[in-house]
Amino acid sequence: MNPWQAPSPALADLRPGRVRRYAGGVLEVEFPPGLPPAAPGQFVMVDLGDSALPHPFTPFRTLAGGGFTLLLRPQGRPVAALLARRRAGQAVRLFGPLGRPFPPPPLGARAFAVAESGRIAPLHLLVRLLGEAGGVTLFVGGDDDAHFAALAAFRLPGVRIERRRGGGWPAVEAALARAGTDDVLYAAAPEPALARLDRALGKPGRQGPRAFLALEVAMACGVGACYGCPVPLRRPPDPRRPYARACADGPVFPAGEVALG
């Protein structure tokens, strides 16, 4: 099976298993097999019973035997709800994988991956495949211990990790300085950081590198049904249809396609 190819989604009730704790309150929670393996950058919907909406998560690590893990940042993720489910021994309903994945790199391109503010979960499988295929440099930026948590998971064949600590978007700046015209850049970061990357690449006269941006957008259905996750298109083919759907047309968009921040 081609690991870059998005499979058909499925639905499963799975019990959260082992939990690993990292710096800054970051958690990694194991799940048993039950869903088709995600392509890099895809997400799964997780219903924790705490809200009318399920939570989108990018599977973090693939486990031997078909299980996977989710990475929970201390802010903004339903940590308490998931841990309560786990303590009670209750299954949670998941469905996926969903969304448009990162594409494989063009032949001969050098690959760079960029994570800011702890958004490394969408990059693990990507970086693993890129490392096996010919190598990748992963820039990790942030100003908090939590932003550098779980990096041990990225010690993989062919993967070079470069940390950039500081304000602004230090990993974005480092990748922009390093990547050449024929290279390819993959980024997962808060929207202002992706917007910075998008603007730099869109400068008149700048030829490349090609870039793919993983957005984090509020969603409801996750399956392209409800139109609850619009992202404005930069140049809509029909002005009466100005939006793409983050869950179905994304969450990965080529730089230049959507209007950011």
Partner: protein
């Protein structure tokens, strides 16, 4: 009330009384890979206008205590594209397709209805006079005279069964329901979302459109009252909706006077919600009522 076939007027018989509500299921998306909507009584498509509508700016959804706020704003590709695309493909999969009709004015509603009347893929129309998320959305849904005029105008251009979808808490619900019935509607859909507001910590609206419509569990008791009062006021079949998440909720709507139920927001947490409700009704069609004290 069982899971058996139901008659919704003007010769429309649905195989069972569990429907998909307009909006959350959209045109199916990848729900089609998770369950088969043809097993359900009918699929009500998203609000459809004569020409494409862009919808509201993001964010369009926000979870709140007990439910969901949405302000999608009726984004849709227009009636031609809907009939040629999803209406057709869902009908060809074996779904009974109902078209939810929206417009800024009477001409818009009439244009969509006239066009849909020509389609072999549409089984009924649901006239949406109750969307809180567009500027004119509630213009007809609160005034018995205005809604009667609109329904009569649509009635004149189509032979399709005509359902009218009302807001959850209009000023005079009984008068509204009677006006709709007298104007020639075949069924009532009750209810649409309830206008509502969610603010973030800084006091700014959480939705791009400002306010939105409340759906989900918090809407259920509001919807039950609407169904009960309309069932008392008019003799039309009622499709009940608002926070239907389980077979027990469906049975409550039947007890209040609904002939069918539609499932919306519950799909988000559980894509199988509608088919699981149907399976539970089939497994236990007439549970014994609890003994009276």
């Amino acid at each position: 009330m069982s899971a058996a076939a139901v008659d919704l007027g003007r010769g429309l018989r649905l195989a069972n009384p569990v429907l998909l509500a307009s909006g959350p299921f959209g045109y199916g998306g990848r729900y089609l890979e998770l369950f088969d909507p043809a097993r359900l009584g009918a699929v009500v498509l998203k609000g459809t206008s004569p020409v494409p509508w862009p919808g509201n700016p993001p964010p369009r959804v926000a979870a709140v205590d007990g439910g969901l706020l949405n302000a999608v704003g009726l984004e849709n590709p227009g009636v031609e594209a809907v009939l040629a695309g999803p209406a057709r493909s869902l009908a060809e999969r074996g779904c009974t397709v109902v078209l939810n009709v929206v417009g800024h004015d009477e001409d818009d509603f009439v244009a969509v209805a006239r066009r849909a009347d020509l389609s072999p893929h549409v089984a009924a129309l649901e006239v949406n006079v109750s969307c809180p998320n567009v500027p004119d959305g509630l213009r007809y849904g609160t005034d018995p005279r205005a809604v009667a005029g609109l329904v009569a105008a649509v009635r004149r251009v189509t032979r399709l069964p005509l359902w009218v979808k009302l807001p959850p808490a209009p000023p005079d619900r009984r008068a509204l329901a009677r006006a709709v019935a007298d104007a020639g509607a075949d069924a009532l859909s009750l209810v649409n979302t309830l206008p509502a507001l969610a603010l973030d910590r800084t006091g700014r609206p959480r939705l791009g459109a400002g306010a939105g419509g409340l759906s989900g569990a918090a809407l259920r008791p509001v919807a039950l009252l609407a169904v009960r009062e309309c069932a008392d006021a008019v003799d039309l079949p009622i499709i009940g909706m608002g926070g239907v998440e389980t077979a027990e909720h469906a049975r409550a709507f039947f007890a209040a006077g609904a002939r069918a139920v539609a499932v919306g927001t519950a799909l988000f947490r559980n894509p199988l919600a509608a088919v699981e409700i149907l399976a539970a009704l089939e497994a236990d069609p007439d549970p014994q009522p609890p003994p009276r004290r």
